[in-house]
């Protein structure tokens, strides 16, 4: 079972992506999409050592909503900072200690951090216990770490890792 269908979640996602790509709902395209959704995970099994499991799909939906809102806010924040006075910015590097363990959750967190207000993730420590974040304009580093941990890391931990 594990070898025939290594990533049950990936199959419908790939099928959906294929249907969007060809922009049609014909039966033939659905069959082709399902075939691709099955064969691609089997062929790329070596690159996906971890099994992807979503423990709380509803929370994922809510998280995506918050995330989209934050992206819009982030754009306004960064636009204001760029148009303001660049000399006054106080950029800083912050080490965020990680509670999430799985590689998938860490990469999700890093991506989310890069897309949200004033921060870009720049490095994961080799032991995967710290994430180095570059903030564009921040004076209170402790508050930043607390926000990242409560707003993004806690939901991701619940979604991707068993409690």
């Amino acid at each position: 079972m594990r070898r025939l269908l290594p990533h049950p979640l990936l199959t419908p996602v790939l099928t959906l992506i294929w249907l969007l790509l060809v922009n049609s709902l014909e039966a033939g395209q659905i069959v082709l999409g399902l075939f691709l959704g099955w064969v691609l995970p089997v062929l790329t099994l070596q690159f996906w050592p971890e099994q992807v499991r979503i423990y709380k799909p509803m929370l994922l939906m809510r998280f995506l909503g918050i995330f989209l809102l934050d992206i819009v806010l982030a754009n306004f924040t960064v636009a204001r900072l760029i148009l303001g006075r660049p000399e006054r910015l106080q950029p800083v590097f912050v080490n965020v200690p990680l509670d999430v363990k799985s590689d998938l959750a860490i990469s999700f967190l890093a991506n989310v951090i890069s897309l949200t207000p004033g921060t870009v993730s720049s490095r994961v420590s080799p032991d995967h216990r710290y994430l180095l974040v570059h903030a564009l304009n921040e004076t209170d580093t402790e508050a930043l770490v607390a926000t990242i941990k409560s707003r993004y890391e806690a939901p991701l931990k619940e979604i991707f890792e068993p409690c």
């Binding site: 992506i17 969007l20 790509l21 922009n23 992206i71 819009v72 982030a74 754009n75 960064v78 636009a79 900072l81 760029i82 148009l83 660049p86 000399e87 910015l89 950029p91 800083v92 590097f93 080490n95 890093a110 991506n111 989310v112 951090i113 890069s114 897309l115 207000p117 004033g118 870009v120 993730s121 720049s122 490095r123 420590s125 080799p126 710290y130 180095l132 570059h134 903030a135 564009l136």
Partner: protein, 119 residues
């Protein structure tokens, strides 16, 4: 009315994309410059894509969902490339306005790949 909305979205998108690129010119060091292209452009491209989807779905009467895919790919690639650029910059120890963290410097000198390039 709809055309007005679409034009508004296109103009907003273009303005945000422009501000993102302007950041490259105005900001002072490599790390802060990374912020412009990763963020200000997501909303810029987002607005343009919504406008495109509206135009082709309603005015041209053919459901167009390619925009969803563009958004998906953009959200996957923009942060990853920013991360790789920042990591490479840290590895090379580029000049930074922010104080470089000590732990990073320690990791850098310990990393085996770095030692090899030194030899």
């Amino acid at each position: 009315m709809l055309e007005f909305l679409i034009s508004l979205l296109i103009v907003t998108g273009a303005v945000f994309a422009f501000i993102g690129s302007l950041g490259l010119a105005r900001l002072k060091d490599f790390y802060t410059r990374l912020h412009g292209p990763t963020k200000a452009t997501t909303l810029g491209v987002g607005c343009l894509l919504i406008a495109s989807a509206l135009h082709f779905s309603i005015i041209e009467q053919s459901a167009s969902l390619h925009e969803v895919l563009v958004t998906l790919f953009l959200f996957m690639t923009a942060p990853v490339s920013a991360h790789m650029l920042a990591k490479a910059a840290l590895h090379l120890g580029l000049k930074s306005l922010a104080k470089l963290p000590d732990a990073t410097m320690a990791n850098r000198s310990m990393s085996p790949r770095h030692k090899q390039t030194r030899q």
